[in-house]
Structures are given as structure tokens and as C-alpha cells.
Symmetry: C2
Subunit: 138 residues, 2 copies
Amino acid sequence: MLVGTGSATEYRGKYGYPAKPDVTAGKVEAGIFDCIVIPGGFAPDFLRRYPEAIGLIREANTAGKVVASICHGAWAAISAGVVRGKRMTCFSAIKDDVVNAGAIYSDAEVVVDGNLVSSRKPDDLPAFALAIISALTR
Amino acid sequence: MLVGTGSATEYRGKYGYPAKPDVTAGKVEAGIFDCIVIPGGFAPDFLRRYPEAIGLIREANTAGKVVASICHGAWAAISAGVVRGKRMTCFSAIKDDVVNAGAIYSDAEVVVDGNLVSSRKPDDLPAFALAIISALTR
């Protein structure tokens, strides 16, 4: 399920692939999800401007749901306040933001710390997806 | 003088205005500048990937030069390690990164703390420019 911010009826990925949001962040409860995946690119810079979207990530984390971020997705996890004291990774450019947010950074294709799953970049997607599935089935 | 990272021979602004770098960050000393202005947009996300560019900002700050950032430019100032304990502002989306970096954030059109001058967004440019001139002439 694609959760939107309410600001657009369609999103386009890096290569133009279109995706329509199924629901708006402010109109859905974290309880219905098993996992929230925060994608990368510059979208997280916009995502973190929406308190409802950031609140959903925070609530999902509080409820022990799997919270996964890749690349710049860590920015939204930072703003949701779910990374402090956690081991994680992110796109190299935002390492300073992750460390300043109190996370313990590793340069690894995927890092799992409890319910938090994180990867660095598109090349890490296979490991990222497997770690999410593993976290959801343990 | 426009300092480039060495990765491009021309940069284009938000509205397509072209600008050619006069010099590359790794080939210039902070001592020749009176002030470094870090522009906004997503460029700072790239800028902070270049140790020479970040090093130049750090050296300019250490030498007491005026360091000015606007919008997302604060990311580069964060990575240069020049914001901790300083009063500053930035584009609202990256407020969390600025606070996590140890700066004291204010929602004001311009904030001056010693040699650090910062603004939030393009609308603040008149106040930003005046504050930079004032810092350079005091």
C-alpha cells in the first residue's frame, strides 16, 4: 500500500515509473501495517515536511512494526525520532545527519537493529528486501 | 568567485541560470576569501560529498571568515562542523538536522551569530544579503 502525503495524486520514481497513493498519511492508522518502507531519493526531504507522515512512522515504530529506510529515507526516520541509539545505515551523503541524530552508523548493505531495517543505496535492494522479509517472519 | 567541486564545468540554478566555477575547492585556500556563501536547493546534498568543499568551509570558519548559508545550505555547514552551539536558521524541512547538529534554531529571516549568517528561503534573500554585507563591514 502506498501512503501519500495528500499533496499529490500520483508520484513518479527516479525512472518515471508512476505510482498512485492508496491512502493519505493523516487518514490511516499505523496499526493496519506490518511494516513501513521509506524510499530514498529527495522524496524524504518533502515527506518530513508533513507531520501526519512523520507521525505515522513514529506510531508504527512505537507499535513495534518493522520500519525500513533506504538511501535518503533515513531523513524521515530521523524526523520521526526513531533512530536514536539504533544501529543503522543510510546514503553516504547523509551519514552526518544520521550520526547527529544519535544513531550508530555502519557502512553495510543492510543493518538490522530490532524493528529498524536500513540500507544505503539501490544496489543494496536485494539485501534490503530479504532483511525486511526476515524481520516480518521472525 | 564561484567555487566548484571539480565534478562539473557549469552549474545551473533553479531557473536555469548558468554559472561556471572559477576554481575547484581542492585547489584554493580559505585565506583568499572574506566570506563563503553556501546556496540552497539540493546542491548542498552533493556538496557535502566532497571533502575538499567541506574542508574549505571548515577552514574559512576557523580563520574567522564570514560563513553564510541559506535554505538547504545548512547541510554543508553541518558537515563542515561549524554550527554546534551557534544560533542559526535554515529551510524548515532540515530543521531537525540543524538541531541534531547542536545548533540553536530560530525561525527568523536571518540569524547572525558571530561569523555565521543564515537564512531560511529565497524570500529572505534581501535580509540575508544585508546581513552578509554588515558582517563583512563591521
